[in-house]
Symmetry: C2
Amino acid sequence: MISSLAAGNLTFNPLYKEVKIRITRGLAAGAWKPGAAIPSESRLAQQFNVSIGTIRKAIDELVGEKILLRQQGRGTFVATHTEDRTLFFFFHIVGKDGGKELPVTEMLSFRRSKAEGEDAARLKIPHGSRTLRIHNILKLGGKPVIFDEIVVPTALFPDLDEDTFVKREGTIYGLYQARYGINVIRISERLSAANPPQQITALLGSRQRTPALVIKRVAYTYNDTPVEYRVSWVNTEAHEYLSDLWKNEAR
Amino acid sequence: MISSLAAGNLTFNPLYKEVKIRITRGLAAGAWKPGAAIPSESRLAQQFNVSIGTIRKAIDELVGEKILLRQQGRGTFVATHTEDRTLFFFFHIVGKDGGKELPVTEMLSFRRSKAEGEDAARLKIPHGSRTLRIHNILKLGGKPVIFDEIVVPTALFPDLDEDTFVKREGTIYGLYQARYGINVIRISERLSAANPPQQITALLGSRQRTPALVIKRVAYTYNDTPVEYRVSWVNTEAHEYLSDLWKNEAR
DNA sequence: TTCGATTTGTTCGTATGTATT
DNA sequence: TAATACATACGAACAAATCGA
């Protein structure tokens, strides 16, 4: 249960920061599931024993970080990976002609493995610990454009098997969220150019000696906990990576 | 002079949006120069004839977009391109070892030219209109890492010549800002992988057949007006492009 | 060094508007 | 229609940082 705040705030944080931390903690603990509404602002104000303006300021920041989503007249909801808006927050490959489109994923392989050099470091797990290693082809407009290797700690997804993965509805992050309560809220990507290995060139259907874009992504959930490490090889003959800084429409 | 607002708001915008628009207009018109303070919140509240809370909400958004910068006890300032914080907002190449460093720019050529295909489209200027075309090498740790071609409309920088460009202090965007009052506030980048032409490979000191990261950037000032089109070739043997979405520290 | 004026930061409270159910 | 929830706007009080007298 959430206790009053205004009374004994032992940290030196402003009240609204404290409220934000407590709400985030509730999210991390799964108190409110993705897609569900959190308590109304007035109710939170009561529970925390602070003014409604303070609650609004805390929620404002979480909305800015796309962790929560407000809807006037309805409530405030935990962001999900099923809304187009948030989907393109995590997927940045677009057609060179400007077309935005979501990819269709086809799994190539699914196996148990151990964390090697980069995996372990990026996922902040011990070297050699158990992981799942999944290979996918992502198609855009029916054509293969991206080859993915996904590495996740088995500990986070205990009973995830090939069947569950393939038969999921929606995106991979949607699966993490709906089935395991793990909500990816931030990613960090590092891009470089490289000549892909033979097999990948073949899979992407690109010409020999066509360089590819390599994206090394770490996905994080609350409190900067790494969830997934993913290496993508992108055929950039007809597509490119879009980084728009900072088209912040509304806010 | 800024007139009262609360009275005759003919648009259907909320007041604070209207305030934001007017402040942005003032910035675009050069009413307050980069680095200078805008009027205090209480003074703005008087001028616009709205409450201080409404002013704060308008400024909040501009601060979120890194257009303004608040400092408790001092005032609110127009963001400049001389602060480390904003510099890395526009420069994304980091060492693979994780080292962040700002590049040293060396000009290779500076000439007058005309807008060709992509230039014209991206800069939203007529095909064939006059431009400046500048080539640079950017060094990190003393070694060449990036080759740049910069295209800007001559109309925006009427008297910009080679000497002014080379002898500037600080960054290129700092020059646009300090000398021409043009404040780059947003960039959009499209990345792909490609084999660079011979000369660029040589300039970057990379091995034959080493692919490079190609970054096509459009820089915008207020009201989404394009200012500069820049194509960069990056040697990603020891460096990579960092896209962190979204490490929003404080907010 | 101290003090006071100025400016932003935080918190509270209230009233009213608008969207949803 | 009524109740609920978020959105906008106002105002007040005090805290904290800055700066110059």
